[in-house]
Amino acid sequence: MVSEKDVEHIGELADIGIDAAELATFTGQFNAIVEYFDVLDKVHGDDAGARDRYNILREDEAEPSLPREVALQNAGAQEDGFIKAPRVM
């Protein structure tokens, strides 16, 4: 069982901004889905990731970067070529 408190914690971890009003609905849906996931308890087998391709690499060659105005064309507030962001406490 996933509790509302668990969902709140996950919301915090995901930085998703869960409202108190949504919490009950989310928790209900969450439990139904997670209960469905429990079928995975039946899974047995070797470690996964038997992948067949290795060492996909590129050569160390520098290519031109974007002009700054293009690089920043989608950014919000700017100052002296920097992008403005909220303060980090």
């Binding site: 391709r53 996909i56 590129r58 050569e59 160390d60 520098a62 700054r68 992008i83 403005k84 406490m89």
Partner: protein, 484 residues
Amino acid sequence: MTGPEPETQVVVGLEVHCQLDTKSKLFCSCSTDYRNDGPNTHVCPICLGLPGTMPMVNKKVIEYAMKVAKALNCEIAEESEFARKNYFYPDLNKAYQITQYDKPLALGGYVEIEGDDGKERKIQLTRIHVEEDPGRLVYMGNAERGRYSLVDYNRAGIPLIEIVSEPEMRSPKEARKFLNKLRATLEYLGVFDSDKEGSLRVDANISIKGSERVEVKNITSYKGVEKALTFEVTRQKNLLRRGLKVDRETRHYLEARGITQSARSKEMENDYRYFPEPDLRPLRVKSWVKDIALPELPDARRERFVAQYGCSLNHARTLTGELKTANFFEAVVAKNKDSCTLAATWIADTLTGELNYRDMGIDGVDPVKFAGLIALLKAGTITDKSGVEVLRAMLDEQHKGETVETPQAIVKRLNLGKTAGDDGAIHAAIKEAISENPKAIEDYRAGKKGAMNFLVGQVMKKTRGRADPGELNKLMETALKSLE
């Protein structure tokens, strides 16, 4: 029982992040040469983390990291892979850092240092892994006008290796030696440029045996490590002395103030939700190790300096501690084959001190001109004291960006040529010294040994150090005897 009391035993482990000196970034083709350019000028859709972009690993980064691993005696993993470390920060372009987690490139290895007890010790390494540097944040504003930050992604995606040591260093000083040795090794390998600002950053964990471990983050220079750790040792010892306990926590080093400060407890709860990077494929590069050629490394060069040039072990250690110093020494002795020990002393002791005093690097010093100075000293043309004066003049000229004169020209200009016995100037100076210091003459007559040294010193002053000390002693003795 000998040795330190248990409660004062310090245990230090380091996580060292070094930028690798490749042409392009780790996952994209942007140039790494961003330091002289404005913010956000070395960015592309990939290192900006624009939606839809994908990483592609720079082969040279893997080769450089393996070179380091081989030099530090690590084992290259049969298979390694990249993973995502998820956390939110404005300078983290994708909201995850691509790093290596449970499958690092290299495991084990060691760095040999001279321990505090004077014995060589091997500090074991846990692992070396490859990861990308985040961007850079600049904090702006103030409490009244509102705080915000400015983000520059030029640094985002610069290749880093993280070298993790076991907690085996026993003092801040050993930590410094570990770092110096590591830095020298990386430089010798030609994969790292320590002159670049922020190219080496350190997180340290430190504990007093039997107490909780404290992690000190954000040490951005190798010089800061000893200071930060020394502060922590004192802080932790004080807590224990007062009967308090040391909390297990993360602290930030504030370079400007030389102190550490507790970080928010939220950082302790970080759950990075690592998982393998689905856009990349694993590495299987162990077989490459045999083809990696290593250059002569600091330990080997140190031993060669002792054997080939007759350097003392201490001088050899200092000279080989930085690649540039070692190269400078060899360039100087190439010109002065028979004055190796003189050159070693002058570089390891005098030049290093004068450069530190001026906060200058050895880069700009011309080995040919410096070799000229050694030649003058060797020939006895100038005294050691004058030698220092010549060197200072050369460094000051260089510091001011002026043309650096040859040592010969400086000697001539400042009239520093060593005075000989028949030089009128020295006789005149002796005469003056005797007539100006009747008290000293009295003391001399009274048999006080110091009086003679005092008078010699006076003559040295008057001749501005040009007099050969041995010769001057003889002349002074003769002069004093003739007074009787």
